[in-house]
Symmetry: C2
Subunit: 336 residues, 2 copies
């Protein structure tokens, strides 16, 4: 057990935290002692891990010097409050909240820019990008040698779980109320989300862009090492429980060879590519998987420099927890 590492999962009672704990077990990560942390509200809850029930403790007063690695999946505010102190106490931090700026916590996708870790010194502090950016990077990076891309247009259809457990509960509640013909009062979201699409997700800036849109663009640029790539992004909240569905149009400087695209995607890590007349969905393909699924790779109707893609991925698992655990695996491999 000399290789094992003590770990804290912050946000262990949440959707992403739960997936992290599952993946640590599933991938036989060399976990020493596992500390599950949340707010006072769920302290005392228990979470199964390797056949035992571990109790969730409160983050307040937790000493991060006890652990070698901490996953932060409890919102931006928690990351901002505790992550730097954890690092200062000698603990490496993998943030999933996006709460720290890109220069302080570089975004890393295991399949795309793992080399970033080599430029850093332990204890590390870096971040897993937003889940849609992670899925997009996994698909787009293998295409980089093939296309001189000029611009991406992305419509990201995000499930209610992108807003955590409460988003999931709210869609279930609203749907049941409507099917039972009871009057609907939106609670967690400001509108009816059942059988409806919300064209703006979360906080919005003075320039009209949602924070999730800005983040998607910034994370993607950093991970793809394409700092000035033009990206148009619209994030839409859809009445789906789990899984990101992404409509992407790439505009390149030169005609795009679809056979080469298909071949590159077939050879790519963590990508499952379907034929151009087939499409994956979150329900039939993505949920519970560690792959990103792509279909409908096609040129423009009369523009060979355009490439359109339909991409689906499990936002909680592939887009968040799986990437974070893969990053942790890289980190312990490089341990001094």
């Amino acid at each position: 057990m000399s290789q094992s590492i003590d770990i804290a999962v912050v946000g262990a009672s949440g959707a992403v935290g739960g997936a992290l704990v599952e993946l640590l077990e599933e991938r036989q990560f060399p976990v020493g002692k596992l500390h599950l942390l949340a707010s006072e509200a769920s302290a005392g809850q228990s979470v199964p891990f390797k056949g035992r029930n571990l109790r969730v403790g409160s983050i307040a007063g937790f000493d991060f010097a006890q652990v070698g690695l901490a996953f932060f999946a409890a919102g931006e505010a928690v990351t901002r409050q505790y992550a730097s102190a954890a690092q200062a106490a000698g603990c490496s931090v993998i943030d999933l909240s996006g709460g720290l700026p890109l220069d302080q916590a570089p975004r890393v996708v295991a399949e795309v820019n793992p080399q970033v870790l080599k430029t850093m010194q332990p204890p590390y502090l870096f971040a897993s990008p937003t889940s849609a950016a992670t899925a997009l990077a996994v698909v787009l990076a293998p295409l980089r040698p093939l296309l001189d891309w000029q611009r991406l247009s992305i419509t990201a259809c995000l499930p209610v779980s992108s807003q955590g457990r409460e988003g999931v509960a709210e869609l279930a509640r609203q749907t049941a109320e409507l099917l039972n013909a009871r009057p609907l009062e939106p609670r967690f979201f400001d509108r009816q989300v059942a059988f409806n699409l919300l064209g703006l997700v979360g906080a919005v800036g003075t320039d009209g862009h949602a924070q999730v849109e800005r983040r998607l663009i910034e994370d993607l640029r950093q991970v793809l090492d394409a700092p000035v790539l033009k990206v148009a992004a619209t994030c839409v909240l859809v009445p789906v429980f789990f899984g990101d569905s992404l409509s992407v149009s790439v505009q390149a400087a030169k005609p795009i060879d679809l056979h080469a695209v298909q071949a590159a995607l077939e050879g790519a890590a963590s990508v499952e590519v379907l034929e151009k007349d087939e499409y994956p969905t979150v329900i039939t393909d993505a949920i519970g998987q560690d792959l990103v699924f792509v279909g409908r790779a096609r040129n423009g109707v009369d523009d060979p420099t355009e490439l359109n893609l339909w991409i689906v991925s499990d936002n909680v698992r592939k887009g968040a927890a799986h990437n974070a655990v893969q990053l942790a695996e890289l980190l312990i491999k490089h341990r001094p």
Copy 2:
């Protein structure tokens, strides 16, 4: 009553046909005798019109010489079988199925290219575009003087009613089965559509484009009189009953002035524009309305030549029946 005109509504038992009959009444269209037609399957059903119940008859054997105007809302095959003969019998035809090529049945949106009607001779034969193209044209045409557009990227999230009554019934059935934890067997759609997004709608061509996507592009180009405009289109079927939700990114040759965009949309016919940090939805805004709603008009994150819009519209009413009835109004105004 000398000004009244006898009318046939083909597809009167369907979603669009029903809306046509409602709008003819609501807008006090000068209807003489109204013939409601469908297949044998619903012949004998009754549909309310001006306080009476009209019986639906079978199209087989119907003599179109009896009417001055026929709306075709019964699928492409029915239009292909009967529309030319109806015109030959002296009846003007407004097609809603898209079953005839653009040169044979020009696409017309009342607010955008009504001048096309003046170039034609009675009996007329023309078409109302796909509902998403109609909504897009209503919003984009007023912006034409402001922006030298180079390319549009559109993700059109279509409701199950875009596939007719059976689509509506199937989403209701699937949702109820899932909420009652019964095993789901998709019937009308090939996959689960409840709590899922289908990234391909209807028939697909050998180039990977769906017919609805190709049509959206062709209809839009014709209506906007922009035959070589580059348009990327992805149509997605979403678990929404009624209403198109459209994510649009316009790329222009020059920086786009958002104030001018907002002002142009405020002055535009049939458009309701919201502020850039607000967004309409089909449930809260579009359903049952004859307006197209636009929100979130914003430039790119760091690209002033990009304009992003979020547009919603009632696919059955505004996108189809309302446009067709407006076209009929223009047509009788120009009657010799």
